[in-house]
Symmetry: C2
């Protein structure tokens, strides 16, 4: 086979490989997901298992779990793809055609096959700016928007600016939550930056505790140059929605310590709990006035989450405010070598930020589809929260937002010993057993980080309601059996 030459003469071996790549981890697609894939293949070949299919509750992949695409988004996308024929088709409503025409008019040669400006089409950035302005009640300029290939790409572009280019204790220190979506730890490992881990407070709805932020920062100062703080709101994997008060305190802390704020706000449409509300970091910072309203902030949004769940299009944007103009120019230069984000993903962001308006032919259907998805997510968030809190040996903060529950496992000492004997973390041991016995694929809490001695797992709330009920039933049976076995 072409892939397996003799190793001795290789340029790249585990010894010579970039050591930063070696230490990278990305648990959401880690070994448990590989095992889930292998089990799926076994099932296809007729293997006898105690379940009929694998439930991939490891990743926020909406359409994969049966959510239907929003019709209007796909209509606009089809129109910009093949306008010569479809613009004349009676199958498409006028408001979709109008949006498609506007996008095509902004594309060179009227084709989405052309490169756009590096930060994305100005016409689309105008809609994004309008959306942000309406959301927050503060001005937003298209020149502060840079579209990206999913939020991950935007986050990495900003992190790149913050690196010091120096080794050892001169490395850039970036504050990241524990638990956290592992893109952050993976990117910091790749860039040889120093992760300053701060623990979210599980006892207070996974909120941010300023005393804990101070502890983390002070302990890290000997090891790095602290540059920035990342906050994920609504939370991934933790499902919390930060209060305005909490955000204000974080902003004050960042100001005192001269930190650039990275606000990962990709779940801004996903808020379910009564009394919870999404406040953007920009809005709060603007409301706070001087000296906070001139702080450097990058906010990230994605086409992959919310009500649309268009993960495959890889759309997203970054809004950066209050950058030093010279730094802003360097940022623009740094993204120009990537040419441009996928234009179809840009078009998805256009529809999300410029949806059908009252009086337009698609308004009713669009609104109904959007609200149905969000209402179902709401129902599932409550279902999951209440189920986990009804089982012995599990506690779970309310899923206030985003798409995940992050329940805590109170495992018996025998289970912890059995895990150690198997060379696994206790939560990996648990999650692998869950997968083998029920086909439910989750991600062990250790992949996101957790307080020592605590064990969790992340499960998405995405399966369709009836399926989710069934999954939770199987989960409960497994859990009680597992607890009895190791009691």
């Amino acid at each position: 086979m072409a892939s397996n030459g003799p190793v001795k003469d290789k340029v790249l071996t585990l010894e010579t490989l970039n050591p930063c790549v070696k230490v990278m981890e990305y648990a959401v697609r880690g070994p448990i997901v590989a095992r889930a894939g292998a089990i799926e293949a076994e099932l296809k070949q007729g293997a006898n298992k105690p379940f009929k299919r694998v439930t991939k509750a490891n990743i926020g992949d909406c359409h994969a779990t049966g959510q239907k695409p929003i019709t209007f988004i796909r209509q606009v996308l089809a129109l910009v793809t093949y306008p010569d024929v479809l613009m004349k088709s009676p199958d498409f409503p006028e408001d979709a055609k109008k949006r498609a025409q506007r996008i095509l008019g902004a594309c060179r040669g009227n084709s989405i096959g052309s490169y756009t400006e590096s930060p994305g089409l100005l016409a689309i950035r105008e809609n994004i700016a309008k959306y942000i302005k309406e959301r927050d009640g503060y001005p937003c300029e298209p020149i502060d928007i840079a579209m990206c290939t999913g939020a991950s790409d935007g986050i990495k572009s900003i992190l790149t600016l913050l690196l010091t280019g120096k080794p050892g204790t001169e490395r850039a220190g970036i504050m990241i939550p524990v638990p956290q979506y592992p893109l952050y730890s993976a990117a910091l490992a790749e860039y040889n930056a120093y992760p300053i881990h701060y623990y979210l407070n599980e006892d207070n709805h996974w909120g941010l505790d300023v005393a804990e932020l101070k502890r983390a920062l002070n302990e890290a100062k000997a090891n790095c140059k602290p540059r920035a703080i990342c906050v994920i709101n609504p939370g991934n994997p933790t499902g919390q929605v930060l209060t305005k008060d909490n955000i204000q305190n974080i902003i004050k802390f960042a100001h005192e310590n001269k930190l650039f704020i990275l606000a990962d706000e990709v779940y801004q449409h996903n808020v379910y709990a009564k009394g919870s509300q999404f406040f953007s970091f920009k809005k709060v910072l603007m409301e706070m006035g001087t000296p906070y309203n001139t702080m450097e902030l990058a906010s990230f949004m994605s086409a992959s989450k919310g009500f649309m769940g268009e993960c495959g299009y890889r759309g997203g944007y970054t809004e950066v405010i209050n950058l030093d103009p010279e730094v802003k120019a360097m940022y623009n230069k740094s993204i120009s070598a990537k040419l441009c984000p996928p234009v179809s993903g840009q078009a998805v962001m256009d529809v999300i930020t410029n949806p059908p308006q009252k009086g337009e032919p698609s308004f009713e259907q669009f609104t109904k589809e959007k609200e149905t998805v969000l209402a179902q997510l709401n129902e599932k968030a409550k279902l999951v929260t209440s189920l986990f809190n009804s089982i012995e040996g599990i506690t779970c903060n309310e899923v206030q937002g985003a798409m995940y529950a992050f329940p805590r496992l109170h495992l018996p000492a025998k289970a912890v010993e059995a895990a150690k004997a198997a060379g696994q973390t206790p939560d990996s041991f648990y999650c692998f057993a869950l997968l083998e016995e029920t086909g439910i694929c989750t991600v062990p809490g250790s992949g996101f980080g957790e307080k020592p001695g605590t064990y969790h797992f992340r499960i998405t709330i995405l399966p369709q309601v009836e399926e989710l009920k069934e999954v939770l039933g199987h989960f409960k049976d497994f859990h009680l059996k597992f607890m009895a076995q190791y009691k």
Copy 2:
């Protein structure tokens, strides 16, 4: 304005910004392109100029210059975007529907809105592997294919593996051609790797000269750890197509010096000159047998060039062969944190590598559209080559392939002095004057690198034939005037 807070308190200033970002340059979208954009805006506002429109001949952006999308590609793309309605439409041929159905069948939830496997859908990688096997006559496995967000993304992923993670003379040395497509210099600057510049031989059709490769490598050994050699074939910006003999010599050189080969083969469909033929590095390396056929090689392909020119979809793939299996696993891990390349771009690659076959309803139209594009490029390559060689003060190697001419300017001493007085390189000075007087936007050779004391510019051959003739006429007038002025 939200963007301009007071600078003194900023986390990021030019002093604290990642120094690697500071030194990055990407000439294809550099200051001359910014000026071209400004001129376009001036024209829109009614400015009086000696020309009516800006001709963007600075970037290989096919549809932007009037090339029409290939119908079959867009049909398949529209079908996978909005299948519920379009799969039933009589406007779409059966072979397009068949391909769309196969792609959707491979997507979770039958939606291109789902994430795919990190290296892309297996069903599409199977078609890519088949395409490569047929192209080269050697086996190719889907597990050796990783799709990417345009070739640039694939190239950066491989470069990342090759970094040493060490500073100073321990940095990874990567051999790159001069002149070269500036993605390479930009990525190496960003990664703090050491660029080992080797000069292409302008006197021998921009071929690679082994003596020059040796010189470059030997001189660099004191400054870095040499790890890899990048070769662009067909050449960008130089338009050459390497002979098999030349490729064999490069492979031998890489073997002797234990270098990983990065073969940028995105223009593999773009070969025009009589007697020129595209040979992939993989094919040549396989033909050469032991010990060459176990060498580590990455080959890059793109949806943006060729006959399709679908730049906006950001599709592409990397084939890696002969990797140490442990390194291969690390490579797969490293791309997993990017989730997956845009699925619509993956679908474009599917059609390119699995076009309509004889007997299928779309075969004739597809073949005609493809051949028309390539025949026009052929005509334009000849037009450009002969025009440049007919003008005093310019010499130009034959445009054998790719999409660019890279003519050499033999500038009078007075022009060189005038450039110095203006604080510009002589070729920048020339290209800015060309832009201001004719509206033709090109890229100065200094953006790609050139031998000291030589001056060039890159111009695409993409404008439509009649427009290109007109452009070349204006160019000639400008050039003769410029030469007379500085004689």
